[in-house]
Amino acid sequence: MAAPAGSPPAGGSPAGGPPAEAITAVPVRHPGRWIAAAIVVALAFVVIRSMATNPRFEWSVVGDFLFSSRIIDGLIVTLYLTAIAMVIGILLGILLAVMRLSPNPMVSGASGFYIWLFRGTPVLVQLLFWNFISAVYPTIDFGLVSFEANSLITPLVAAILGLGLNEGAYMAEIVRAGILSVDEGQGEAASALGMTRLQTMRRIVLPQAMRVIVPPTGNETISMLKTSSLASVIALTELLYAGQLIYSANYKQIPLLITVSIWYLVATTVLSIGQYYLERRFGRGAKREQKQTPLQRLRRILIPTHVRPEDVQTGGGG
């Protein structure tokens, strides 16, 4: 077919012409970016210099205590407490969410009441409440065996109960949103195949709700890591209280709070990275194109690969 008159002067046949000319254009300048960068660098310089040169920060004390056994022991208690409280929270959350969606009004109402109660009171109050539970129930009776509440409800148990039961209420709402996000047709297809409501929930709905449940659960875990510091008020030697015990003896409050903060930052950073990759994994298939990970982006910046004209695929049939 001949090219119509007035076509671009490229010449050649319309199907599979010669290689197209690569675009070499002067890029748009961004003076605003340079100004912003200058301001940020100047501010960072001022802050860092002040922190480094002000002797009252006592960085040497931070260095002394960063890896001290008392701080590390506190960190371990924090991580342990976070993990147990989240496990309790997730299991309780699934149970409460399924109950909340039950057709039985008593079951659904009980779940609603629980969520109302535990979301409606501060977790700090709940922690104190569990800590003082022996005032209400001096002995805890399981029928065959009974315990002195004071020996059973140690600060650790009170913290696990307080944080875990409170988390259950929040996780219930997250799981419920996940369940509701699954297409109704999935449940219908399962019913039509003769599956019961519980089978459908366990085998069909919950696995597909995970994509919606996982990202906020990661968030909750990071949040829990920091909220666990509230257990310091019931004298549980987690990370913050370990630092407090040290500075109550040596009066080096600021360096020890910095020490503690560094460990919180390390732990939340590790969790954030984990969350990022977990979300990527569960988001597969939902988006057309996966965004690059920071590592991949860094590699691209460090090792630039420009598209050369000869790499540009020539269109049309060969």
């Binding site: 999935q186 039509a192 003769g194 597909q208």
Partner: protein, 256 residues
């Protein structure tokens, strides 16, 4: 009541959502081995009626039997007792259903989709269920897609997996709810071919469809519904070629 010889028997079935009456007295008999096509404009109640047959919808008046047993209830004397969830589920397991939007389980491969109900509902041993699943997937022409996820399959392939999933339960009755309405035109043929083969094998089928060609060729009986009632029914030749009612004629003139 001569319910015994009919696979599906409906007597004056009524269904309403609040004040909206969707079914206003449907009478229908589907004999064992018959293929019945329900046609009609959208909102005529044909899909709702189909969903009543396996008790996905409750009916408010009338009686509905499948294979001689009341749907959703048990009759003792002149009293009706609602069936428990497990009993309803057991009866549904004997009726296959295919949906307009396939509703394949998105987190499972084609094979897992087909194996799920036989193992978890019927309690069939896994190896046996897998062998049977491969057989039915082969039958619908997807023997090479066993490990594909629904998102990796075309609409026509997904619908054929959905048919295989229903067939793996060895149903005595198959319900199709507009099985080709969500498909691109060039994919409709494969699905209809599978349904045609199924009809030839003697399966009792109730099909809600807009495919008049399929109805004319395969159906033993065509039922035209409008406004929640059956306007006319009969052989495809009678209903599709020589409709008696004005409403049927008006509808057919639009779709043919």
């Amino acid at each position: 009541m001569s319910a015994a010889r009919q696979m599906v028997l409906a007597e004056s079935v009524h269904k309403s959502y609040g004040r909206l009456e969707v079914l206003r007295g449907v009478d229908l008999a589907v004999g064992t081995g018959q293929v019945v096509c329900l046609v009609g404009p959208s909102g005529s109640g044909k899909s709702t009626f189909l969903r009543c047959i396996n008790h996905l919808e409750k009916i408010q008046a009338g009686r509905l039997w499948v294979d001689g047993e009341l749907v959703g209830y048990r009759q003792q004397g002149d009293r009706l007792y609602e069936l428990r969830e497990s009993e309803v589920a057991r009866k549904r397991a004997e009726i296959g259903m295919v949906f307009q939007h396939f509703n394949l389980f998105g987190h499972m491969t084609a094979l897992q989709n087909v194996v799920e109900a036989p193992t978890h509902v019927k309690g069939i041993r896994r190896e046996k269920a897998v062998a049977r699943a491969k057989e039915v997937l082969e039958r619908v022409g997807l023997g090479d897609k066993l490990s594909s996820y629904p998102s990796q399959l075309s609409g026509g392939q997904q619908q054929r997996v959905a048919i295989a999933r229903a067939l793996a339960m060895d149903p005595k009755l198959m319900l199709f709810d507009e099985p080709t309405s969500a498909l691109d035109p060039e994919l409709v043929g494969d699905v209809l071919q599978v349904m045609r083969d199924l009809a030839l094998s003697g399966m009792t089928m109730v099909v809600v469809t807009h495919e008049m060609g399929f109805a004319r060729e395969v159906a033993d009986k065509v039922v035209f519904m409008d406004g929640g009632v059956i306007v006319e029914s009969g052989s495809p030749a009678d209903v599709l070629a020589a409709p008696k009612h004005e409403r049927t004629r008006a509808f057919l003139s639009k779709v043919l």
